[in-house]
Amino acid sequence: MDTSAESRTQSTLINGEAESASEPVQWEYSPAPERAAVEIADRYDLFINGKFTAPKSRKHFATINPATEQVICEVAEAGKADVTAAVAAAKAAQPKWARLKPQERAKYMYRIARRIQERARELAIIESTDGGKPIRESRDVDVPLAAQHFFYHAGWCDKLRYAFPGAGRDPKPVGVCGQIIPWNFPLLMAAWKIAPALACGNTCVLKPAETTPLTALRLAEILEEVELPAGVVNIITGGPESGRALVEHNDVKKIAFTGSTEVGKLLAKMVADTDKRITLELGGKSPNIIFADASIDQAVEGIISGIYFNQGHVCCAGSRLLVEEGAVDIVVDKLTHRLQSLRVGDPLDKNTDIGAINSKAQLSTIHKYLEAGRNEGAALHEVNGQPLPRKGYWCRPCFFTGVQPSHVVAREEIFGPVLAVMSFRTPEEALERANNTPYGLAAGVWTDKGSKIFEIARRLDAGVVWCNTYNKFDAASPFGGFKESGFGREGGLQGLRAYLEL
């Protein structure tokens, strides 16, 4: 970049005075809140054996709207006896569900997909209210993808014997699946877990995350509506103790967990001396590599969707940006410019790009990392000057430069809208830096050179490699990690594997 431009800061590009006769306008978007009314009860029970059932634990806990810090409603806290009841219901329902004509099983799942589509608006609103993600994302990403997962997997029900040729002409379900999902994509993760399990003839007990139980409970309503046989899917809300009881239950044959690496390792130990199967989809610190020959404007879009999508609460977030040295300045300039157009605030406003941080605890984790980054000498760029609402948990999108690979912000998963920018000089150095992590969930690579794409993609230790794109998801596309990002795949043909006995 020409040095004469240095004095022209990015903000003049956005707000600068034109040398023109007519005054430039300041055109601001008026608030555009999603106003559709959605009914939320004061209190929700557990969905066990096809019915909403009061918890034997007699305990309920509040779920909070992270954008207002107000209690939305209360949900039940499943105790050990509740978990037992849910597992028993799933166990009782399983043989019949597995014996059902495959195409009939499929029809239930198609019905679920359709009802999700029909109730999309309501689901999106609840997702954004409960979890803080912008309505634009819950409406355009989470909910449609959740429907697609049921639709895609419905089609597998009667085709399982063709799925793994030579491995089993008559694949059998595993049995009762205990599934524990995180708070970043509550409905979507429920779909990722339930859909393949049902397609393969299993039954489920699903536990949504403590801070985001509401869409899973709406899904339970949908299961009732479509008359899914009782017990096939049971949804129990609760905290870590409920999860532990589920994992430890003897009749649970398979554990599927998405969440932190720390908890994943614990669960792996809990089942070490059992015959339970386990799949883990854990954390990441995914590299996003930008070569100087990439289409830079679009690569910047890839950085944005890579790290700021869903406030950075994404296990595969491209949180380590590796830029070829000659392009660092221009990438940082353009990123700075682009960050200024991101709108932070009310998750229900249709123009919001960055919603609320999911919980107070997560916000303080992010703050801890911001502090650590500064203390280690990296430069924090908080270039987005959006005013923040007074109540709620917020973090403006930001990035660090001057980051060393050894810095905490370059090594640990932050799970927030915080990017670490680093540079490299050669492809070998890029690969070495990219792979120098215990994680291996995803990676991005941006270059206009085809042969380079293939070589880099081949050598990246990552279960998903996005070339000239980032954070794309599809029911037909397997997702899951290398190394400490977990094992097993979700979605696609390979995603069926863990739910079948070949």
């Binding site: 000239n468 794109t469 400490e484």
Partner: protein, 291 residues
């Protein structure tokens, strides 16, 4: 005057060389019959294990980077060299296990054939396990199996050679580097197998063989952060739990199969591409499709 036999010293096989164990310990290999000691072999230690894993770690990317055709030829070469040592292996097995020479020949032959089979899989398994995915957007999306990395193979006691080959070949053909922990009970064939590797153009470090006491090594295998997966057979519940507990530390993949001595001869079960699947990672690649 009768000639004094030259006795073979059996050593470990690490990074393409045959070192003695760094611990300086050896174990007796008892003959199947009588009180005779067949040989002395190394009682490999935690440090030998570490050296083997380091060698494997260094060798693995290059092994994976070779063409599948090249890996196939090297594994076929292993079969050729094993064929050349057919009698030596049959004898070693016979004296160790007490099985008839007919039975041990059968085992050696099956081992040779297994290597030939997996030599053939090297450039085909990806076609079986990978696929193209029709995603709802303008993207070319495909899933390919990639080697997991460093695999530790914990061999069953019986069949000592065929078990070793059956657990070694699948990860090896897929571009993994392997550290073999030989059967403690019948370790002689494993000790000789290093010679097959050493004479087959197998790059140094791709296959490493440790003899020793399983109980001593197990926990270290499980804990080692540079080991990415473990393949074991016929393991008792306690050992399996030890492996898994340690493995959880770095989210290792652990595959423990149960297979009777006869079942290792079952071609359907042992030569399927699905025996390779636990040692590959599915990588899904997206690329926009547009002009």
């Amino acid at each position: 005057m009768t000639r004094l036999n030259v006795l073979k010293t059996y050593k470990l096989y690490i990074n393409g060389a045959f070192p003695r164990t760094e611990s300086g310990r050896s174990m007796k290999v008892p003959a199947a019959k009588g009180a005779e000691v067949l040989a002395h072999i190394c009682q490999g230690s935690r440090k030998d294990m570490r050296n083997a894993v380091e060698a494997a770690r260094a060798a693995q990317p290059k092994w994976a980077g070779r063409t599948a055709y090249n890996r196939a030829q090297i594994m076929y070469r292993m079969a050729e060299m094993l064929e050349g040592k057919r009698d030596e292996f049959a004898e070693a097995l016979k004296h160790s296990t007490g099985n008839t020479i007919a039975a041990t020949r059968k085992e050696v032959d099956a081992s040779i054939d297994r290597l030939v089979c997996f030599a053939g899989w090297a450039d085909k398994y990806a076609q079986m396990l990978g696929c193209n995915n029709a995603v709802a957007g303008p993207y070319y999306n495909f899933t390919v199996p990639e080697p997991t990395g460093v695999i530790v193979v914990v061999c069953p006691d019986e069949p000592a050679l065929l078990g070793l080959v059956s657990l070694l070949a699948p990860p090896m053909c897929a571009g993994n580097a392997v550290v073999v922990i030989a059967s403690e009970k019948y370790s002689l064939p494993a000790a000789v197998f290093g010679e097959v590797c050493a004479t087959s153009d197998v790059p140094a470090g791709v296959v490493n063989i440790i003899t020793g006491k399983r109980a001593e090594l197990l926990e270290h295998i499980a804990n080692h952060r540079n080991v990415h997966a473990i393949s074991a057979a016929n393991m008792n519940k306690r050992d399996r739990a030890t492996l898994r507990m340690g493995a959880a530390e770095n989210v290792k993949r652990v595959s423990v199969i149960k297979r009777s001595a006869d079942a290792w001869f079952d071609v359907d079960a042992c030569e399927s591409p699905w025996t390779i699947e636990p040692f590959v990672e599915m990588k899904t690649i997206w690329h926009p499709s547009a002009t």
